[in-house]
């Protein structure tokens, strides 16, 4: 089942003055359960592509369908609601809320979804357990290592039960051990629960684990390998 479908997607900055094509006529689809890495040199358009898939940026041309729903024509508030219900985000710098504990950070997105307390409790306990950070549940981000923080961030992204998770350079700030541990967890979730992950990355360790590698150069797909 197609989770993401991009058709002739382009992003042009400064269209009136000096047009810069950050993304140029990309057409691709992502199936449920894929473990996809978008790779390429700096400035090739990885993050721009991820932002458009995530509804954070608007395409200049082409369309983005998520689960069969076109997000191109959505208003800002519709996009916000769509992101909340259907897309999980993992950021390079973790971006947890510093005043909340690990458990509260995971539950926060469910608060935004108006889930009941019992559901939140069960979901956050389950995710903390699967991420291997159950003992850290009452710690604030400043009391956690980088790897532990990123695991909380992944748990937060999964807490809302999204259609897929977008991860922008998720391992860029992690040491080798933490990177391997995080990739193990994500690979396990992908394998056992068919959770779709899409990464933008430079990290060879991530690329090595990916089942599909899309290579971008100058905003265009130059290769798309299924492994």
């Amino acid at each position: 089942m197609k989770v993401i479908e991009l058709k002739n997607l382009s992003k042009i900055y400064n269209p009136e003055t000096i047009p810069v094509r950050a993304i140029n006529d990309i057409t691709l689809s992502v199936e449920e359960g894929e473990f996809t890495a978008i790779v390429g040199p700096s400035g090739c358009g990885k993050t721009t592509l991820l932002n458009m898939i995530g509804g954070l940026d608007i395409s200049s041309e082409g369309s983005v369908d998520i689960g069969g729903v076109s997000i191109n024509e959505m208003s800002e508030s519709e996009l916000t609601a769509f992101r909340l219900q259907h897309i999980g985000f993992v950021f390079q710098a973790y971006n947890l809320i510093p005043v909340l504990t690990a458990k509260e950070n995971i539950e926060f997105i469910m608060v935004l979804q108006n889930r009941d307390a019992k559901t939140m409790q069960e979901r956050s306990d389950d995710l903390l357990d699967r991420m291997g950070i159950k003992d850290q549940r009452d710690r604030r981000p400043s009391e956690l290592s980088g790897g532990q923080q990123q695991r909380v961030a992944v748990a937060r992204a999964l807490a809302s039960r999204p259609k897929f998770v977008l991860a922008d350079e998720p391992t860029a700030n992690l040491d080798s051990g933490s990177t391997e541990a995080l990739l193990d967890i994500m690979a396990k979730l992908n394998k056992e629960e068919m959770i779709t992950f899409i990464f933008s990355t430079h990290d060879q360790r991530v690329i090595d684990r990916a089942k599909r590698i899309i290579k971008l150069v100058d905003g265009e797909i130059v290769s798309d390998e299924q492994l």
Partner: protein
């Protein structure tokens, strides 16, 4: 959880939150102190003028206002004397014969108003005997005793038992002069009386200007309370065809002083609130700008603008909710302290305060409703102060924040 998050956000920068909370608390405290001070001062001026000078209600002949003097004496004075027994809210009455004249001592002479009174009645209405600082209340001098203020005594260079000559005109405009002796020297709380009124017995002045014992041109009534002022005036008007006026009609400056005081209090409150407003805006703006990335991330993961707006407003409200009661409590305790200590002694400014009829001791006075009103004003200020930072927060673009990640 948003409530909890807002509360936790306040304490991210403890020092900054403490500073803004202190500013709010001190602002609230200062307003309470200033309002209490104003109330005390204005209350004293009004009370002193009311109780020791004008009284609540005065009755004159209709023509007296255009031509004050002996020509327009009140009609049916015996009936006016009976009002305290007929109208329940009247505490006491003093009938007066007031005439302009001169008082002369061996050293100098001064233009004054002579109040011819019944000493017992006047004491009941204006508490005049309580202000004596030398001599006594008409009893130590058998023939023609007078009371005059310390200020007049100093000007005339007289003391108790000194002889003075009072010169007045009778009904036919003949000059009449009589020798009087200073029975007592007083210091009234009314600047008007201190500056130019002397008291003599009604019987002595009547004799001097050949008027009967029933000749009066002013009746002053002290009421049991101020609330029944209009009602009592109307009851009096129904019983007499003389001119009945309340102290507010006699002395419009009462309204002016009270209105001026109200305006002053409002101006002070507005100034303090404006200062707090900018403090709150500044603090919350800093808090928002420091959290640009975080707010952008919240928008990215699906937090609606309305919830972010609500969160920032809530944070601002919480700061005020904590700080304002602290200020109110500090104000309350300050007032309580001065109450227990017998007031704030401002004797060093007594001269200036007495010029306006005020007291040298400041007794804090504030209505309980002021505390509630002030709390509401602070909340309103917080709400206004929250709007700009909250708008700033909701206008952050998630993408821009993501790019900074």
């Amino acid at each position: 959880m948003i409530l909890s998050l807002a509360w936790k956000n306040i304490w991210r920068s403890k020092r900054r939150s403490f500073v803004v909370m202190s500013a709010v608390a001190i602002g609230v405290w200062s307003i309470i102190f200033m309002v209490s001070f104003y109330n005390s001062m204005i209350g004293a001026i009004s009370r002193n003028s009311l109780q020791h000078d004008y009284s609540h209600i005065q009755i004159h002949h209709e023509g007296y206002l255009s031509e004050p003097g002996l020509g327009f004496q009140v009609k049916k004075p015996s009936m006016l004397m009976k009002f305290p027994s007929q109208i329940p809210d009247i505490e006491a009455v003093s009938a007066r014969l007031i005439v302009n004249g001169m008082v002369a001592s061996p050293k100098t002479n001064l233009g004054i108003q002579v109040y011819a009174i019944d000493p017992a009645d006047e004491r009941a209405v204006t508490a005049l005997s309580g202000f004596l600082i030398a001599g006594d209340y008409f009893t130590n001098i058998k023939r023609n005793p007078i009371l005059l203020s310390q200020k007049l005594a100093e000007k005339l260079k007289v003391k108790v038992r000194s002889k003075v000559v009072i010169t007045v005109q009778d009904l036919e405009a003949n000059i009449r002069a009589g020798a009087f002796r200073v029975s007592g020297i007083f210091h009234s709380k009314s600047p008007r009386i201190n500056n130019g009124v002397i008291y003599v017995r009604h019987e002595d002045l009547s004799k001097l200007i050949n008027l009967p014992d029933t000749a009066f041109n002013e009746f002053a009534y002290l009421l049991k309370n101020n609330e029944s002022l209009i009602e009592t005036k109307q009851m009096m008007e129904a019983k007499t065809n003389n001119l009945v006026r309340t102290y507010r009609e006699i002395a419009p400056e009462f309204d002016m002083i009270e209105e001026g005081s109200a305006i002053s209090k409002q101006v002070i409150t507005v100034i303090v609130m404006l200062a707090l407003l900018f403090g709150i805006i500044n603090t919350m703006l800093m808090a928002v700008l420091e959290r640009t990335k975080e707010i952008g991330m919240l928008r990215a993961i699906g937090m609606f603008k309305s919830k972010i707006f609500f969160m920032i407003v809530l944070e601002t409200f919480m700061i005020s909710w904590v700080a304002a009661p602290m200020g109110l409590m500090a104000g309350f305790l300050t007032n309580l302290y001065f109450e227990k200590m017998g007031g704030l002694d401002l004797s060093q400014y007594a001269g200036a305060l007495e010029q306006y009829g005020g007291d040298a001791i400041f007794y804090p006075a504030i209505a309980q409703s002021t505390y509630l009103l002030l709390m509401l004003v602070v909340m309103m200020t917080a709400l206004i102060g929250a709007i700009y930072p909250a708008i700033k927060a909701v206008n952050l673009k998630p993408l821009e924040a993501i790019r900074k990640l």
